[in-house]
Subunit: 394 residues, 2 copies
C-alpha cells in the first residue's frame, strides 16, 4: 500500500473528467447525439490567420522553441501592460505583469504568494472547482461565502468571516459557474475591505472579454492597488488557445519576485509558442474578438428567452459562458445531471460540483442547481437544449 | 506592506535568473564574448524535420489547439509505455504514464502525491536547485544527504536519516549538477530501502538519453515497482523542446489518480503541440538522438582531457551535460563565479547554489565547487573554457 499525501487526497477529483466519464458511458441513439454543455472552452481552433502566424513562428523563430524568462516574454508583458492601462484607466506596468501556463496556474501562484498551509482564504460559493481543489491540496482552508441575490457575494458577510488566518478574498467576474457579472461598486467594496484588513484581493477575470457591458468592469487599477490586488487573466478563451496554456497575473513587482519562484519550479517558463500566439492575438484580433463577444451575448439573450418560456426553471445567473439554473425536479443535481446525459443526451454539470452538499455543511442549494455552459451552443443548439430539458421525464 | 506567505518567502530565488543578471551586468570586451556554461539547455531549435512536422500540426490538426486529457495525449502515453517497457526490460503500461508540463512539474506533482507540509523528503546534496525550492515552498523539509565518493549517495547514510516524517527519497541520475551516473546497484539499493521503509523513491531521469552506458540504467521496472517508484522524465533536452514544456511521470495508476488532481489545478493539461512534437520525436528521431548522444559523450571526453592538464582542479563528477569541479582558489565559489564572468567572460554556477553554505550548516564543500554545463560547448568552446580558467588571476 503506497503512502499518499493527506492534502492531495483531500481534494476531490477533476469534475470535468468525471463528467466526461458520464458522457462516455452514455449509450445514446443515433438521432440523439450528445449535446455537451459541460466545459467552458472553445470547440474550434484559433482563427486561420492566427494559425498561419503560429506556423511561421514554428518554422522561423528559433527562440520560440527554447526556454525564456520565468515571468514571460517581455514583449507580451509590455503589450498586456499597455492594453490594461488603456482598458482599466489605471497604470499597469510591464513589471507588474507575469505570464503563466494558463489562468489556473496563475491562481495557484497567487495563493502560494499569500497563504501557507494552515491559513485560510475566503471563497464565494458556488466556487470554480479548480480553486477549491487547489486550496485543499495546498492545505489552505477555503472559508466559504455563500452568494446573495444576483449570485453576488456580499462585503458585509465577507467581513464577518475574516480572522487572523484569512489571507485573501477570491472573486471571479464574470463568474464561473454562475455567469454573474459583479458590479464595479461590489468589486470596489471588496478591495476596500481587503485593504482595510491587510489581506489580498484575488480577482479572476478569465471571462472579461465576454462581459455584457462596454468599458472597464472595475476601477481597481485606477487607485492604489499594488499592496492589495492580484488579477488573473486567460488568453485561452478569447483567442481559442486552450491547448496552448497561456494566462496572465497582474500584481506588484514585489509580489512577482515571490511568484517568480513558484512559476520557476512548477514550469520554468510558459510555453513560448503560446505566448507568441497571445501577443499576435492582442495585436491583431481586436475586431475578431468583438464579433465573438457579440455572438456570445446573442446566445446569452437566446438562453434567457428560452428559460422565460420554462417558468419551472429559475435562472439564477447568466453571463459570459454560463447560465446557472435552479431545476424543478425532486432529485439531487448530481443524480439529475447523470440522468440527463443518459436519458436525453445532455451533458451539464451539477451544483454539487460547485458547493458543498448538505451532508458536508451546505445549505441544500448545490443539490437544486445546474451549470449550463451555453457558449458553444448556437441557435440550433439552444433550441435542442430546451427540447431535451422538456423531454426529460423525472 | 503586502502580506507574503512564509513558505514561498523561505525559498531562494531562481538561480538561473540570478546568474543571467551577473552576465547581463558584465562589461566584456569585443574579443572576449560571453562563454555561457550556466544552463543545462539546448541553444538550438529542434531539428528541421520536427519543426516542419510541428508547423503542419498547427495548420491541420484542430485538436492541437484545444484542451486535452489532464494526464496527457493518449497516443503519447502509449508510446512512452511501449518504449519504456522495451528500454527497461519491465512492464510499464499507458495507465502508469502521465505527461506533464515539463519535468520540474513532474517533480512538484510527485512531491504533492507523497508529502504534506510538515513532512520530510531525503534530498542528496549537491541538489538540483528547483527541487530544493519546491520543497521549501511546499513546507516539506529537505533532509539533506551529502554524497560520498563519485558523488553518489549512500544507502546506509540515507537509512539513518529516515524517521516517521520522511515520505520519499529523491535521486537524479545522470545527476544535475554533478553529472554522476548512479550504478544500477546503487539505484536498486535505494529502491529496496524505500520499499522496506514504506516510502517512495522518486528518480529523475531528465538526462537519461545522454547516459554513457548503453542499455537500461537500472532495473527498477523489472521488479515490483508500483508501490515505491515514481520516475520523472523530460522531452526538453532530447528533442530540443525546452520552450514547449513537455515531461513525463511514471507511477502506479493509483498514484496517478491523485497526481491528476494536482496537474489539473496547476495547468489543466500539458500543451498539445508540445505533446505531439514529443510523440513525433519518439517515433522518428531515434537515429538523430543517437548522434546527439555521441556528440555529448565526445564533449565529456574532451572536458576530462582538459582537466587532466589542469591538476589543480578536481573533477568530482562528469557526465550527461555537466562537470562538477573543485576549484583551487582561496575564495568562495559564488565570489569566484561572479569574478569569472566579470573578468574572463565565463559563466558557470557556484556550488553555493547546490548545497548549503557553511554558515547554513553545510560542510564547506559548496564554497569550493563549480558546475560547468559543458553540453553546449563544442571543441573550440572547451578550449576556450580552458584558456579562460587559466587566464583568471585570483
Amino acid at each position: 500500500m503506497p503512502i499518499t499525501a493527506r492534502q492531495l487526497s483531500s481534494a476531490f477529483p477533476p469534475p470535468v473528467m468525471e463528467a466526461r466519464a458520464w458522457a462516455a458511458a452514455a449509450d445514446l441513439p443515433a438521432d440523439m447525439p450528445l449535446l455537451n454543455l459541460s466545459q467552458a472552452a472553445p470547440v474550434d481552433p484559433p482563427p486561420d490567420a492566427l494559425r498561419q502566424a503560429m506556423a511561421q513562428i514554428v518554422l522561423n523563430d528559433p527562440d520560440a522553441h527554447l526556454y525564456g524568462p520565468v515571468l514571460g516574454l517581455p514583449a507580451l508583458r509590455d503589450e498586456v501592460a499597455q492594453q490594461w492601462t488603456q482598458a482599466y484607466g489605471g497604470a499597469v506596468t510591464a513589471e507588474s505583469v507575469a505570464i503563466t501556463s494558463g489562468c489556473n496556474q496563475a491562481f495557484c501562484a497567487a495563493i502560494a504568494a499569500v497563504a501557507d498551509a494552515g491559513d485560510a482564504v475566503i471563497l464565494p460559493t458556488p466556487w470554480y472547482f479548480n480553486h477549491k481543489m487547489w486550496l485543499d491540496m495546498a492545505g489552505v482552508e477555503a472559508r466559504l461565502l455563500p452568494c446573495g441575490p444576483g449570485m453576488a457575494p456580499q462585503v458585509a458577510r465577507a467581513a464577518a468571516l475574516i480572522d487572523d488566518r484569512v489571507k485573501a478574498i477570491v472573486l471571479v467576474s464574470p463568474n464561473n459557474p454562475t455567469g454573474a457579472e459583479y458590479p464595479a461598486e461590489v468589486v470596489a467594496g471588496f478591495a476596500a475591505l481587503a485593504r482595510a484588513r491587510g489581506i489580498a484581493l484575488i480577482i479572476d477575470e478569465t471571462y472579461r472579454d465576454f462581459h455584457s457591458q462596454d468599458g472597464a468592469p472595475h476601477d481597481l487599477f485606477a487607485g492604489d492597488w499594488q499592496d492589495t490586488v492580484i488579477q488573473l487573466y486567460s488568453f485561452s478563451k478569447v483567442y481559442r488557445l486552450t491547448g496552448h496554456r497561456v494566462g496572465a497575473l497582474v500584481a506588484s513587482p514585489a509580489r512577482l519576485t515571490q511568484i517568480e519562484k513558484f512559476l520557476d519550479t512548477v514550469t520554468i517558463c510558459p510555453n513560448q509558442l503560446g505566448q507568441r500566439a497571445a501577443l499576435w492575438g492582442l495585436q491583431n484580433l481586436t475586431d475578431w474578438v468583438a464579433s465573438e463577444r457579440a455572438e456570445i451575448l446573442a446566445r446569452k439573450t437566446a438562453i434567457q428567452a428560452l428559460f422565460k418560456g420554462m417558468p419551472e426553471w429559475a435562472v439564477l445567473g447568466c453571463g459570459a459562458y454560463f447560465a446557472y439554473v435552479g431545476h424543478p425536479f425532486d432529485m439531487t443535481s448530481d443524480t439529475l445531471a447523470q440522468r440527463l446525459v443518459a436519458e436525453v443526451g445532455l451533458l451539464v454539470l451539477p451544483g454539487t460540483m460547485f458547493a458543498p452538499r448538505a451532508a458536508q455543511g451546505g445549505d441544500g442549494s448545490a443539490e437544486r442547481q445546474l451549470r449550463i455552459a451555453f457558449a458553444n451552443a448556437d441557435t440550433q443548439g439552444i433550441a435542442t437544449l430546451g427540447a431535451r430539458l422538456s423531454a426529460f421525464t423525472p
